[in-house]
């Protein structure tokens, strides 16, 4: 195919997925999709389910995971047959489709002249799918049944007709049926639009040309990826990190990678990682592969986003590993584990390719939920993910207060939160001394202080990480500060026994919580930092006297220190 037509088609197809993303964001009900963009759309191969085209604005982690979701539908159709135009499958099974129970996937076939041409899929994070904890981030879950209801791939829409009975079952098993109904319709808006647009492109260019373009685009991504891998020196690069704990037993869980470069082939071997754990930080194999895709895309952003990226990559993930669990192992906290996996890939690549070394981002979403009853008895649940610093890099300091590599989310404004929930923020600030020291400093994390105005008690649940093991620096750069969470009531200020995970605590009216998030790791020797940049950081209060003292620098305090 001539490269010019290919470039034109690439733009048209990407636009379809982008437009599906935009449609869902604008019509979704829950802020995790509408504001945090925890959603994704794309086009997938008719027989293999491989990603053909992906939106550029969707949640990066879904990009890799969606192929597994489509594959699960293909397997079901292969077993049972009966696929017809207008069908739409729905499911949230994390063991088949990756990620966790909140992520509802809709998969719809696109037919041309009576034959399946490809699949469209939409994934979005629903606010609540049942389980023991509102919002489903149950830090104490030991099996997925405590995390929410599980829907295997089933036909929610049969030849254009919604299965009202199935919908009723889904709606009966959530605390937020109206929000889920809104999000479902948003996803259907997106699929309807994507289908219409795809037919327009197929009509204009012909099915065969578009199919050839899909193949060519994948081949091109595979070739580019191979070139990038081949440019790295052959060898084995090891990187080890740990999760704080699984929320059940307070012991660190190693996530360890041997990254092997052999010519144009990359092997990611996770054999040395921990085995499946009791708490909710397990992930399925699909999720692991998806997050490796995310890490590689960040390391090589110029490679197009499709299945070709993974063509030259081999995976070694033993069965029974924390990175390859089966039902009913709990997985709600999957974000924490995949952030550690992504960090390991960045860390190992920093060895293989020092010129592009990037220090660790803050590495936790710190899913915090505050909930209770309003004066009128109605239930409120404020649930949010929080930001932190990005790692120092060859280009410069890390960005302050950003979102994680797995997400392009924006954060709900304080004023929207205060207008929606009985809370008052006391602090919404950058956190001094939280960025790792370096020639290029890590970006700083944040301090969020919240006072509850609700009349009764407010329940607190936290599923976070990086409470003990700090985000790492590269090429001599220092580590960032760790997560610190406290809550304050009449008896004083308390810290979670599991440092970054908490369930079952509560505060009275006027009680407060405080979350301090990590920064990013530093890049390069701090002694080589431009003295002007050092002075600027001091003046702006990003680095205080205490942290600037070389004797103290090696062990960031995690405290929002002040200049004397």
């Amino acid at each position: 195919m001539d490269p010019v037509t290919l470039a034109v088609l690439q733009g048209r197809l990407e636009q379809i997925a982008d437009e599906m993303d935009a449609t869902l964001y604008r019509s979704a009900f829950n802020p995790i999709i509408a504001e945090a963009r925890d959603a994704c759309h794309g086009l997938y191969d008719a027989t293999t389910g491989e990603t053909l085209v992906q939106g550029t604005k969707g949640l990066p982690i879904f990009v890799g995971a969606m192929a597994f979701a489509v594959r699960a539908v293909i397997a079901k159709v292969g077993r049972e047959g009966g696929l017809q135009p207008g069908d739409t499958f729905a499911f949230n099974d994390p063991y088949e489709g990756g990620t966790h129970l909140n992520d509802m996937r809709l998969v719809r076939p696109v037919f041309r002249d009576g034959r399946l041409f490809c699949w469209l899929a939409s994934a979005g994070h629903w606010l609540d799918v049942g389980g023991n904890v509102p919002g489903n981030y149950n830090a104490r879950a030991t099996e997925s049944l405590q995390e929410g209801f599980r829907l295997p791939p089933v036909k929610l829409i049969r030849a254009g007709v919604m299965d009202a009975d199935l919908l009723a079952v889904m709606q009966a098993n959530t605390r937020t049926p109206m929000s889920n109904w809104g999000d479902l319709n948003g996803q259907l808006n997106a699929l309807a639009l994507g289908e219409r647009r795809l037919h327009e492109v197929l009509d204009a260019y012909g099915d065969a040309t578009v199919a050839a373009a899909f193949a060519a685009l994948n081949a091109r991504a595979a070739r580019l990826m191979e070139e990038r891998i081949a440019s790295l020196p052959d060898g084995t690069y090891r990187f080890d990190d740990v999760l704080d704990n699984d929320g059940i037993e307070d012991a660190p869980l190693p996530i360890a990678l041997d990254l092997v470069v052999e010519g144009g082939t990359l092997t990611l071997d996770f054999t040395r990682s921990a085995g499946a754990c009791a708490g909710p930080v397990n992930i399925s194999r699909a999720t692991t592969i998806a997050c490796c895709y995310v890490a590689l895309k960040h390391a090589f952003p110029e490679v197009p986003a499709n299945a070709g990226v993974l063509a030259p990559v081999r995976f070694v993930i033993p069965e029974g590993s924390i990175l390859s669990v089966q039902a009913p192992r709990p997985v709600a906290g999957y974000t924490e584990t995949i952030l550690r996996v992504i960090g390991c890939i960045l860390g190992a690549l920093a060895e293989a390719d020092p010129a592009r070394a990037t220090a660790a981002p803050f590495g936790t979403i710190n899913a915090l939920s505050l909930s209770g009853r309003r004066e009128d008895g109605s239930r409120w649940v404020m649930f949010s993910f929080f930001g932190g610093g990005m790692g120092g890099n060859p280009e410069g300091d890390g960005l302050h207060h950003a979102n994680n590599p797995i997400s392009m989310a924006t954060m709900p404004p304080v004023e929207i939160l205060e207008a929606s929930y009985p809370v008052m923020f006391t602090d919404w600030a950058l956190r001094p001394d939280s960025g790792g020291a370096g020639e290029h400093r890590g970006g700083v994390g944040a301090i969020y202080g919240i006072e509850t105005l609700a009349p009764g008690r407010t329940d607190i649940a936290l599923l976070g990480e990086r409470g003990r093991a700090a985000p790492f620096g590269v090429r001599g750069g220092g580590p960032a500060a760790t997560t610190r969470f406290t809550w304050t009531d009449a008896h004083g200020t308390h810290e979670p026994p599991m440092t970054s995970k908490l369930a079952g605590a509560s505060i009275p009216q006027g009680g407060r919580v405080r979350l301090e998030t990590p920064g990013g790791g530093g890049w390069g020797d701090p002694a080589k930092r431009d003295p002007e940049a050092v002075a600027r950081d001091r003046r702006r209060g990003f680095v205080t006297v205490r942290a600037a003292d070389p004797r103290l620098r090696a062990t960031p305090s995690g405290d929002p220190g002040r200049d004397p």
């Binding site: 490269p3 010019v4 470039a7 034109v8 048209r12 636009q15 935009a22 964001y25 604008r26 019509s27 979704a28 009900f29 829950n30 802020p31 550029t56 604005k57 990066p60 109206m178 109904w181 809104g182 319709n185 948003g186 808006n189 309807a192 639009l193 091109r220 580019l224 070139e227 960040h298 952003p301 110029e302 197009p304 990037t358 981002p361 930001g387 890099n393 300091d397 890390g398 960005l399 302050h400 207060h401 979102n403 590599p405 392009m408 989310a409 924006t410 709900p412 404004p413 304080v414 004023e415 205060e418 207008a419 923020f425 006391t426 602090d427 919404w428 950058l430 202080g449 003046r539 702006r540």
Partner: protein, 678 residues
């Protein structure tokens, strides 16, 4: 008394002027070189070219001074005073990253952290003042900022949209201490929920205040020296004009002043030509700006991001910009893909053919090599001729040899990729927003847009192209015909079900009074002042909202049922699935007052009688279309009579633009002198 109104559009390369004499019903245009960094000089020399300002009744200016100060970060040294606990709002943004892929990148806010100070005060979301503002702390903060060299100050308190009492008191205290007028308070700039957007908009406003005020003072000084006794106005990003006093207080409203002026004129030209639905395309040196006109009106977006983290939440003309312009550089990337832009040679050094030192081929070079641009008569008259050979060689070296193409094939490939990108931008504003492109005509303006009309109408499926008679002065013309306009927003936050319609009507009436007063104070003659209302609404639970236009000028007749009906209709226009049974909420009220200016009779721009098609012919030359050379007829476009029809392949030349007519297309000169191409 003189009734001469002059529009002035100061661009990067040229300053364009359009003078309209209402009494004599005559117009004149002028084009002079711009002086980057000293825009006032080009401005004044342009006025001199039209006889000098003394004879002018009014001057209306579309400016990019604000835009450039934002993009180049050349605003004031800025201080921020805010609620205790919140000084980092500006720097924390909405916790976003600049790019989806790749973890590098940084952000510098317009106010440094040590110039952002906190004071004790707190208002809650329901408007309750939990802690009164400490005015001594405000004065002390102001003094500290001044000592640190701050030239302007932004004042933003949390929840000030719900109750501005603390912020108002602080503003008064601040003004006592602050030595200049460059102070912006958030309740005045944007009384709307969402602290980051409000803080960013307020801070950017203060950041621009000294820059824009200084610029306007220089212009007003120069105008006074030249004995100008008329009125001087500025085009806003919403396409309306405002007084210079308004521009000094709210310079952020000029952020898209220049582009807005062009779209205003495009909308007027399109309406007069009988094309109520057009997509405008302004192809400049580095970018292609696209905007949508539906029902004869430009579309406004509620918010724009000038650059990563620089958010302005004010109604602005909805312009989609992509990095594809005449100066965009073509290259073959590592994967063997031909890319055009976003890297650009700009106007300096410019395309290879300009002979000013660039050796990498640009879109303009492709047009030159294919004979579409007349190398012997470059636009603007600054260069004597273009170097076709150098352009050929550059295309061969950077595109042809890597892709195994001849120079002409390489140039055509560059055009195809650039056209595809431009078509993508057009789709973005049309198809993606649910508009059927076959209803729309393309209206190209600026120097380059008309070079690509054929490919663009074909690629997007547009029904026609409408090339204005004077594409190069479209923006200056827009300044002359723009209405006076003022937009306001107020957060409402009430359920639709059980709405107190009388309270809403009272709010609307109050908002309308304020907005109309601003329009009336501008002092330009208007035929009438219209008020428009729209509600931002959504289903309870959604965070984004849909704009719901309300019947004009009749707030007292509104009922819950009428609003419900309007919302349902607006929602159905945007989304496939309606959600019956879910309660609806009114988020905010948008009010616009528009002072309608006397219409300019565009037939005056039409060709004079007495010309013939034959007299406009200028011979032929070989031009490359679709894989081969064609002998194309060349016409002097301005000499074409009304009703003339020209068949492609043909090139229509005029001093400020070139129109390329592909084989198979027909251009017809309409009664106003526009070219209608189908």
């Amino acid at each position: 008394m003189s009734r001469l109104i002059v529009g002035v559009d100061v661009g990067g390369t040229f300053t364009d002027l359009f003078a309209w004499d209402e009494a004599a019903r005559r117009f004149r245009t002028a084009k002079v070189p711009s002086q980057r960094g000293d825009e006032a000089r080009g401005f004044m020399s342009g006025l001199d070219a039209l006889g000098g300002p003394v004879a002018m009744a009014a001057i209306v200016h579309g400016t990019t001074v604000g835009t450039n100060a934002l993009l180049e970060r050349k605003g004031a040294r800025l201080g921020v005073i805010t609620t205790r606990g919140f000084r980092d709002v500006l720097e924390m943004r909405r916790r976003d990253r600049p790019k989806a892929w790749g973890l590098w990148g940084s952000f510098e806010p317009v106010a440094e952290r040590d110039l952002r100070l906190e004071v004790p005060e707190r208002t809650l979301a329901d408007g309750t003042v939990r802690e009164a503002v400490d005015l001594d702390a405000v004065r002390e903060a102001a003094r500290r900022l001044l000592e640190a060299g701050a030239e302007a100050c932004a004042l933003v308190f949390i929840n000030a949209y719900a109750n501005p009492a603390n912020e108002r008191a602080a503003l008064a205290a601040l003004r006592e201490v602050w030595p200049n007028p460059h102070v912006s308070a958030s309740h005045g700039i944007l009384p709307e929920i969402r602290e980051f957007e409000r803080t960013s908009t307020t801070a950017l406003n203060a950041y621009l205040q000294p820059v824009v005020a200084g610029y306007l003072s220089r212009l007003e000084g120069a105008l006074a020296e030249a004995d100008f006794a008329g009125r001087f106005h500025i085009v806003q990003s919403n396409g309306g004009i405002m007084s210079t006093a308004g521009a000094r207080a709210a310079p952020i409203r000029t952020a898209l002043s220049g582009p807005a002026a062009g779209v205003i004129a495009a909308a007027a030209i399109a309406r007069a030509a009988g094309f109520p639905d057009v997509i405008t395309g302004d192809l400049g040196g580095t970018s292609f700006d696209v905007a949508l006109v539906t029902g004869g009106e430009m579309q406004l977006a509620p918010q724009a991001q000038i650059d990563f983290g620089l958010v302005v939440r004010l109604p602005m003309i909805e312009i989609t910009t992509i990095g594809a312009g005449g100066g965009s550089i073509a290259r073959v990337d590592a994967g063997g893909f031909l890319q055009v832009g976003p890297e650009s040679a700009g106007s300096r050094p410019g395309p290879v053919a300009y002979g000013q030192g660039n050796t990498r081929p640009t879109l303009t070079d492709a047009n030159v090599v294919l004979g579409r641009i007349n190398a012997a008569r470059p636009i603007g008259g600054a260069l004597a001729r273009l170097d076709v050979e150098a352009a050929r060689e550059a295309l061969l070296a950077h595109v042809g040899r890597p892709l195994n193409l001849t120079a002409e094939q390489a140039a055509e490939a560059v055009l195809r990729v650039a056209n595809a990108r431009m078509a993508g931008a057009i789709r973005l504003v049309s198809i993606e927003r649910g508009h059927d492109p076959s209803r729309f005509a393309l209206l190209p303006f600026g120097g380059g847009g008309a070079l690509h009309v054929g490919a663009l109408i074909r690629e997007v499926g547009l029904k026609a192209a409408l090339v204005p008679r004077f594409p190069g002065v479209t923006s200056a013309l827009g300044c002359v015909i723009a209405d006076v306009r003022h937009d306001q927003v107020r957060t409402v936050n009430r359920a639709l079900e059980g709405l107190d319609a009388a309270a809403l009507a009272a709010l609307m009436a109050a908002e309308a009074r304020v907005a109309r007063a601003v329009v009336e104070e501008a002092g330009l003659p208007v035929e009438r002042v219209e008020t428009r209302f729209a509600l931002d609404m959504h289903y309870v639970g959604q965070t984004h909202s849909v704009a719901v236009p309300l019947p004009e000028d009749a707030p007292e007749r509104l009922t819950e049922a009428l609003i419900a009906e309007a919302f349902d209709a607006a929602y159905a226009r945007e989304f496939a699935q309606r959600l019956d049974g879910i309660p609806r909420r009114i988020v905010s009220l948008r009010t616009a007052a528009i002072g309608r200016r006397p219409a300019l009779d565009l037939t005056l721009l039409a060709p004079e009688a007495g010309t013939t098609l034959a007299s406009a012919e200028r011979g032929t030359r070989p031009v490359w279309f679709e894989g081969g050379w064609h002998e194309a007829r060349i016409y002097d476009r301005l000499a074409l009579p009304v009703g003339a029809e020209v068949a492609g392949p043909a090139i229509l030349e005029q001093p400020d633009a070139t129109t390329v007519l592909d084989p198979g297309l027909i251009a017809r000169v309409d009664a106003l002198g526009n070219l209608v191409i189908r």
